[in-house]
Structure formats: structure tokens, C-alpha cells
Amino acid sequence: MRKTSDSAWVVVSGVAYFSAVIFVIWVAVHLYILSEGKLSLEFLFTNPTNGMTAGGVFAPLFGSLYLALWVLVISTPLGVLAGVYFAEFAPDNTLTRLLRSSIRTLSGVPAIVFGLFGLAFFVRLMNLRLSLLSSALTLSVMNLPVIITTTEEALRLVPNAQKEAAIALGANAWEVWRDVSFKYASGGMLSGLFLALSRALGETAPILLTGVVFYQPTVTLDPTKSFMALPYHIFILATQHSKFAEVLPIAAASGFILLIIVLLIRILAYIYSRRIQRWL
């Protein structure tokens, strides 16, 4: 009797577990079916036309990728350096604890609150206006905790024997870090950067209030201009467009592209984070 009830529970919990696995695959299939064959190379490289009822996703795709580039350029040095501080230099005192808890707090703040902060601080106070730069700075602040914690974790897992060997060979602190720690930890750090990248590409709320616009088909490299972005494009098509049925396949196709890009980056992040765990 006990055995039957046990196996029933195993089946139920197994279904709960595998439904998550199946769901991820189903999302991609669902988007693909709704896109009704819109996906093609041409779709990637043409701009939206006819009041966004035709054409492709070139400007939003470019905007998202360009935004992500700026986010990485801003947040990588800051996040990696701060992570190095917590792993290598931070003394065990009240100040460190305060800094640490600030970073942890930052990771729990909702995306839309970052948007409000970006609006009040970067857009208005620093007078960067509604621009790609304002959005990139806002997303960078949001990504800092991710990069800092992964960097710190990765550095903490560097085997002491390796460092000791380098010290015994006469390396100074800088050389130990450059030639041993950094090399060992680079995989783990990369996983954090990939996570940050996937968030920069997929987040909507922080850019919504800081510079993204729904139609700006001329592509520019000037970061002080407003821009189109893939997630916002999908949001606008799915909720604000008067001809919903007409634009639904375009929204689904855009969603499929965004999903594939973000998931591929996530897989890379996962592979690199597994590399950290293997050292344990």
C-alpha cells in the first residue's frame, strides 16, 4: 500500500519537474507557429513598413544589440573590478558588510524601479534625455549585482595551491592575479557577463522610461538618440497596435528571434557556470 502511494507521488512530482522542461520547448514552438512563416533572412534585415504591418525587424534588432554592447562596455569594468574587491581586498568589517548588503539589495529591486530611477537620474538630472545612453546606464546599474557576484564567486574558487605556487615562484600580488586568478576565474566571470548580456537584450521595463521609442527606422550609432528595441517592439505590436490580427505574426516572429538569441546566450552562461562548479 505504501509503495503504491509512493510511486503515485513520484509520478506527480516527475510531471511537475518535466512540465517545466516541456514548457521551454513549447514556448519556441508556439511562437514559431504563430509567426506563420514570416521568419526569413529578409525579415532580419528589413525595417518595419506600412505602419508596422509589414517588413522585418532590422531597426529593433540592431537597437537591442547596440544597446547590449553599450551595457557591456559600461558594466563590465565596473562590475568585474567591484567583484575583485569583494573577493581579494575587502577586509572583514562593518563597511564591507554594508557594501555587500547594498549589492544584494540592488539585485532584488524590481526592473520598473530601475526605470524610474533612470528617468529621474540619467534622463533628467544628468540631462542625457531619452536616449540609448540613458537606457544603457540604467541597465548597467541593474546588471552590476549579477556581474559582481559571479566575479566574486569565480575568484573565490581559484585553488589556493595555484596561488601559493605562483607566490613561491616570486610573483607579486598583481602578477598572481593577472597570471593565475584571472585565468582560472575567467570562465566563471564570462558566465556572469553572458547573464548580464541576456538581461540587456530581454528587459523592457528599464528602457521603457529611459529612451526606447516605438518607431525610429533610421539606424544610428549615436548613443544620444532614442532607439527601437526588440522587446519593446513586441510589446507595442502585441498590445498597442490597432490591427492586432495583422501584426500578430510579426510580433510572434520577433518574439521567436528574441527568444532564440536570449536562450543561446543563457546556454553559454550555463556552460561556463558549470565550469566553476566542476572545480568544487
Binding site: R2, W9, V10, V12, S13, G14, A16, Y17, A20, V24, V27, H30, L34, L78, G79, L81, A82, E88, A90, P91, S102, I103, T105, P110, A111, I112, V113, G115, L116, F117, L119, A120, I148, N160, K163, I167, N172, A173, W174, W177, S198, G202, E203, T204, A205, L208, L209, I234, F235, A238, T239, A251, A252, G255, L258, L259, V262, I267, A269, Y270
Partner: protein
């Protein structure tokens, strides 16, 4: 406490110039990064405090939200608080039991090889952009709800709750599954030796050990669900009224911010009141963070 001896730069510093520059740069980066929290709190408080001086406190505790009414504005934020609570509670009611089951399954009944092959899907599930979850809510879950409950539109609190449940699930599963795997084998073996089935061992014995992780994962999910924006906007219909059942539309705190903020004039009462709502969200996030930190530090003390 970390028992492993830490070999940090402090222990073998030689004060070379490169090291000094490096030390200074990384300290500055850490201070700057931490300082952004203070900046965020400050820049949320400024307009929010203005809102409190412009609008009497009692005006917020009303059920009508009408920033641009003909005969004066009404600033009742209760509909948004109700909307946020409905969606978040529905999300937790669905995701807590599901993720508990999934965590027990993955930690107790799966081989390590199989788990490492399927674990990546939870990381992927956590990575699905919220706008795509919103798109699913709009095009897949809402029509289903409309059909099952015979509604004209499926854009309801239930729709938002289900969508959020899927979004918070991966974090809960991985936190709980890790906690289960960290329990020393001997407790499980003891329970099995006393004649318990694997399932009974997990529920009756092992659950005691994962309780703190369980509570803190529920807290974190609460924080994530109440702060989620895009998916919820696309799922709940955005009507500023207090929903009386899960099958009614509503609007969340995050929703009203994202929808109305782009239309407001900077410095207006409307703008300030929206910041006040943002400050409430921020305070909830701070509280959740503080409470989950409290639980983990308590656990650490216990282990010592």
C-alpha cells in the same frame, strides 16, 4: 563561516605600483556600485515625498484612481495594491506546491546524469524575457481561461497569476533542490532504515532541513512576482478597479507605472504620485531582501 582558508591578495601584498592602482580601482568600483543603492533610494524618495505634501494621505486610501478627472483628480492607489496582491498570491499558490514537488523529484528520484541534462531547462525557463511571457499570456493562456470559464476576455488576475507562477518557478526549484542535495546522506539513510519510503523520508525528515531555504525561496518569489512588470501588463487587462475574483481584470502597481509614466509631465502631481507607488515597490523589495537575509544568517548561526 567559511572554513576554507582564504588566500586573498591581502596576505601576500607586496605593494607594487600596479597592485596599488589595481587595489584603488577595485575599491572605487565597489564603493560606486554600492552607492547606487543609496542613489536609487534618494531619487525615489524625492518625488514621492513631494507627492505626500501635494496630496493628503487619506486620498491615497481610496478605490478610485483618476489622475485627470474633470472635477479634480482622485489618487486612490488601493486598486493597484489589490491587483498586485491578487496576481502575486495566485502565483505563489500555484508555484509553491509545484516547485516543491519538482525539487523533491529532482533531488531524490533523479540520477545525477539525467539531472545535469535537464537542469539547463530551468536556467532557460528563468531566462525567457518577460515580454515573451506576456505574449504567451496574451495569445495562449488568456484564450484558454476565457474558454474554460466562459468569459468574453481571459485577461484576468488569474491569467497574470499563472504567468507569474511560471516565471518564479525555476528559481524556487533550484533553491529548494540545492537545499535538498546539501542535506547529509546519513539522515536520509536513517529514515530509510527505519522503514520509511523515499517519499516519506523526503517529506517527514528531510523537509525539516530545507525549511529555511523553503521560506526564503517563497519570500524571493514574492518579491519577484510583485515587481514583475511587462508580463503582467500584457496579462491582466489593466483596469484600475479592485478585482473581486481571480476572474476579473485589474491593474498592478508595476503596471500603472509602466503605462502612465511615459504620459506624465515631469514634476506634476501625477508624476510624483507614480514615484510614490515606485517607492512602495522599492520598500517591499528592501523588506523581502532583509527578511530573507535574516533567515539565511539565522541558519548559519544554527549550523555553527
Amino acid at each position: 563561516m567559511d572554513l576554507r582558508r582564504e588566500l586573498s591578495v591581502r596576505h601576500y601584498s607586496t605593494n607594487s605600483r600596479a597592485e596599488k592602482v589595481f587595489r584603488f580601482a577595485s575599491t572605487a568600483a565597489a564603493v560606486l556600485a554600492s552607492f547606487t543603492v543609496a542613489l536609487i533610494i534618494f531619487f525615489m524618495c524625492m518625488p514621492a515625498l513631494k507627492a505626500l505634501s501635494q496630496v493628503p494621505l487619506s486620498a491615497f486610501f481610496s478605490t478610485t484612481w483618476n489622475p485627470r478627472g474633470y472635477s479634480g483628480s482622485s489618487w486612490g492607489i488601493l486598486p493597484f495594491i489589490a491587483g498586485s496582491l491578487w496576481t502575486t498570491v495566485i502565483a505563489l499558490v500555484i508555484s509553491v506546491p509545484l516547485s516543491f514537488l519538482a525539487a523533491v523529484f529532482s533531488s531524490q528520484f533523479m540520477s545525477k546524469a539525467l539531472r545535469s541534462a535537464t537542469d539547463v531547462f530551468f536556467s532557460l525557463l528563468a531566462g525567457i524575457p518577460s515580454v515573451i511571457m506576456g505574449f504567451l499570456a496574451l495569445t495562449a493562456i488568456a484564450p484558454l481561461i476565457a474558454k474554460v470559464f466562459h468569459l468574453s476576455s481571459g485577461l484576468t488576475m488569474l491569467n497574470g497569476g499563472i504567468t507569474l507562477a511560471i516565471m518564479v518557478l525555476p528559481t524556487m526549484v533550484s533553491v529548494l533542490s540545492d537545499a535538498f542535495q546539501n542535506i547529509p546522506e546519513i539522515y536520509k539513510e536513517g529514515a530509510l532504515a527505519l522503514g520509511a519510503s523515499k517519499w516519506q523520508a523526503a517529506i517527514g525528515v528531510l523537509f525539516q532541513f530545507v525549511k529555511p531555504a523553503f521560506i526564503s525561496s517563497v519570500l524571493l518569489s514574492f518579491g519577484r512576482a510583485i515587481g514583475e512588470t511587462m508580463a503582467v501588463i500584457m496579462a491582466v487587462g489593466n483596469v484600475a478597479m479592485i478585482p473581486k475574483s481571480p476572474l476579473q481584470p485589474g491593474e498592478t502597481m508595476t503596471g500603472v507605472l509602466a503605462i502612465e509614466m511615459p504620459e506624465t509631465v515631469a514634476g506634476s502631481t501625477h508624476y510624483n504620485v507614480l514615484f510614490l507607488i515606485g517607492l512602495i515597490l522599492l520598500l517591499i523589495a528592501l523588506l523581502v531582501n532583509y527578511l530573507s537575509g535574516l533567515i539565511t544568517s539565522k541558519v548559519r548561526v544554527k549550523i555553527q
